[in-house]
């Protein structure tokens, strides 16, 4: 209908268009003899060029570059100048033989598991709780999300102040409650779960749980109320309702956030870096990304981009397995559910 209404105006707009064509004749002559379909293609590529160049330079190319660099190394040639050559798996061999390699993986895994325990489970129950409240909704939502907005350096410097073993707030609270005090992030222990890593996870959870909580909250509001009513008629209590309705109904969101959280927490860096310099006492908070950073930038004399790339490739493979596994699992679920619907 709208097309019909605008049709009478079309002849009026035609001269204007022709005028534009004449005015730019010299510049656009070649362009305007092309068929419209081709013109459209050309302009489409002009629109994309900025983004495509940025993706190519800062995403696709570095990806390939990382893999190539992980198989290269610097050797001295006959003139004593360093040249880049292929070294096969030498970089991988070197990083695997580095004793901190396994420590870093162990710590990263420890952080991921603890962060899932706190950062995945806690927000879910917080969201269920918030969903039941009929008052102060907006206030509580803002409250939970506020730390997410803080610059991480602000939040983490504040936590390192709280964690200070001599004048920190947390030890003071423990002291007034007559509980044993702790060294928090500076705890020297290396047996699982280390106090140092727990401290890092507490700070990280405080900073980040808002996002997950609000996504769960949105998912909870999409659960049809009739399901709960039906369950009540069958005599289900709160625990049963959560187990048999809330969790299955939010399964998609839960599993997606689980994967995103695993990928995010496996890349832990800034939390430990600001709280205790990244390594912690006895390397007990040193993560894989911190080790990459150390290989590439921190060892001033022996900075080694090739070893760092090799470690990056290994991390990429591990994370790829996680996300590939996730995609595979959700795909089979789709296939199973399709005949039913």
């Amino acid at each position: 209908m709208a097309d019909l209404v605008t049709l009478p105006q079309a002849p009026g707009s035609r001269p204007a268009k022709r005028r534009a064509g004449v005015g730019e004749f010299g510049r656009r002559s070649l362009y305007s003899v092309l068929p419209p379909r081709v013109q459209r293609q050309v302009s489409a590529y002009w629109f994309m060029i900025g983004a495509v160049l940025c993706f190519a330079l800062f995403s696709w190319y570095p990806m390939v570059r990382e893999i190539i660099m992980s198989f290269q190394g610097k050797r001295l040639n006959t003139d004593g100048l360093p040249v880049t050559t292929w070294v096969g798996f030498e970089n991988y061999r070197r990083i695997i033989n580095d004793p901190t390699f396994w420590t870093a993986w162990r710590n990263t895994l420890e952080f991921t598991l603890l962060a899932l325990l706190l950062g995945f489970v806690v927000p879910f129950f917080v969201a269920i709780l918030l969903n039941e409240l009929r008052h102060a909704k907006g206030y509580l939502r803002c409250l939970v999300y506020l730390p997410v907005m803080l610059p991480p350096a602000s939040a983490l410097l504040l936590f390192s102040y709280f964690y200070d073993p001599t004048y920190g707030l947390f030890n003071d609270i423990l002291h007034t409650l007559h509980l044993p005090t702790s060294q928090w992030v500076l705890s020297p222990g290396t047996t699982w779960p280390t106090m140092a890593m727990i401290s890092v996870v507490i700070a990280a959870t405080w900073m980040n749980m808002g996002g997950a909580t609000l996504i769960y909250l949105a998912a909870l509001q999409n659960i049809p109320g009739e399901l709960y009513e039906a369950a009540e008629l069958d005599g289900a209590g709160i625990v049963k309702k959560i187990r048999h309705i809330t969790i299955p109904q939010t399964k998609m969101v839960l599993s997606m956030l689980l994967m995103l959280q695993i990928i995010a927490t496996m890349q832990m860096f800034v939390e430990a870096f600001i709280l205790d310099g990244g390594q912690g006492v006895n390397n007990n908070t040193e993560s894989v990304v911190y080790l990459i950073y150390q290989y590439a930038f921190a060892m001033s004399s022996a900075s080694n981009f090739n070893s760092a790339s090799a470690l990056g490739v290994l991390l990429l493979i591990v994370l790829g397995i996680f996300s590939g596994g996730y995609l595979w699992l959700t795909r089979t679920r789709d296939r199973l559910s399709r005949p039913r619907s």
Binding site: R40, A44, A51, R134, L143, P151, A153, A218, I292
Partner: protein, 296 residues
């Protein structure tokens, strides 16, 4: 969406019973008090400990209220760490990145959605596939690339472009924008094309005015991402280049040597703009979170 009463885990009848009402009141009060303590409590110390003297800030036991107010630590921190400079830097990087992302990503998503170039699907798939690559994994080759761009050999280290340009390569932006543009009816853009509008005119006069909500979401994500980033600005602008650092990196560097009350004062100042930003845009931010979080 429809705000008619949607029931949740516990039914309204249960809540309306006398016992239900009491329990609900107790739980509500407890939740409000505990959540305020957990989430605002630390921020209370962030702001008040900046007002303490250096001795009091590291006194055992810590004091709940400053004995004597020392607002001077705020002003000293402001001048000592040149926080004004850092704040301006961060704003400059954040809004620059926003401008680049809006121009390049909107144009690309528009072309992919409405102009349908040959190989468009391949390009789209390659862009969205970068979502699967964790950012930290590429930090080393990205640093090397930025320090010497291939073919042209330009070094971007220390220039704002080192933050702006890589931020354009954001698969999530392309995904969100393209999905939104796809939902704009084809008849609308085709009618304009028949009336003689160029692709640019269609983008300016039809697509962008309709897409305000998604542009708001993308803009907020872009600003917050630059504001919160730490390692990348530390590598490309920090360390050796203090007048160009971001706020985040600057206060971390200050914390290495400065006394505790100054560090907290600086952290508090750094937190204020984000808190104000959040309070102004909280509706959009919280809505954008679920728009981006739940796909399909």
């Amino acid at each position: 969406m429809a705000d008619s009463y949607a029931r949740s885990l516990i039914s309204a009848t249960q809540l309306n019973r006398a016992r239900g009402k009491i329990v609900y009141r107790i739980v509500l009060t407890a939740v409000i008090v505990i959540f305020t303590l957990i989430f605002i409590g630390p921020m209370y110390f962030l702001f008040t400990d900046g007002l303490k003297s250096t001795q009091e800030a590291i006194a055992t036991p810590p004091t709940l209220f400053p004995h004597a107010l020392h607002p001077s630590s705020y002003s000293t921190a402001w001048t000592e760490f040149s926080l004004g400079r850092l704040l301006l830097n961060t704003l400059y990087y954040a809004f620059g990145a926003l401008a680049f992302q809006l121009v390049f990503d909107v144009a690309a998503a528009y072309a992919l959605s409405k102009l349908r170039p040959a190989l468009g699907n391949v390009i789209l798939a390659m862009m969205v596939a970068t979502l699967m690559i964790p950012a930290m994994v590429l930090i080393v080759p990205l640093y090397i690339t930025v320090s010497s761009l291939p073919f042209v050999h330009i070094n971007l280290i220390g220039s704002p472009a080192a933050i702006w340009l890589p931020s354009v390569a954001n698969g999530f932006n392309i995904f969100l924008l393209k999905r939104f543009f796809d939902s704009i009816p084809r008849e609308l853009t085709e009618a304009a094309t028949i009336d003689g509008a160029s692709p640019m005119r269609v983008l300016r006069s039809i697509i962008i005015p309709i897409s305000r909500p998604i542009l708001a979401v993308v803009s907020i994500f872009a600003l917050v991402a630059v504001w919160k980033d730490f390692l990348w600005p530390l590598l490309v602008l920090g360390g050796y280049n203090p007048p160009r650092e971001t706020l985040n990196v600057g206060i971390w560097e200050a914390a290495q040597t400065a006394p505790q009350n100054m560090v907290l004062a600086a952290s508090a100042i750094a937190a204020v703009p984000t808190i104000i930003f959040f309070l102004i845009f909280q509706r959009n931010i919280l809505a954008g979170l679920t728009a981006g979080g739940i796909r399909g």
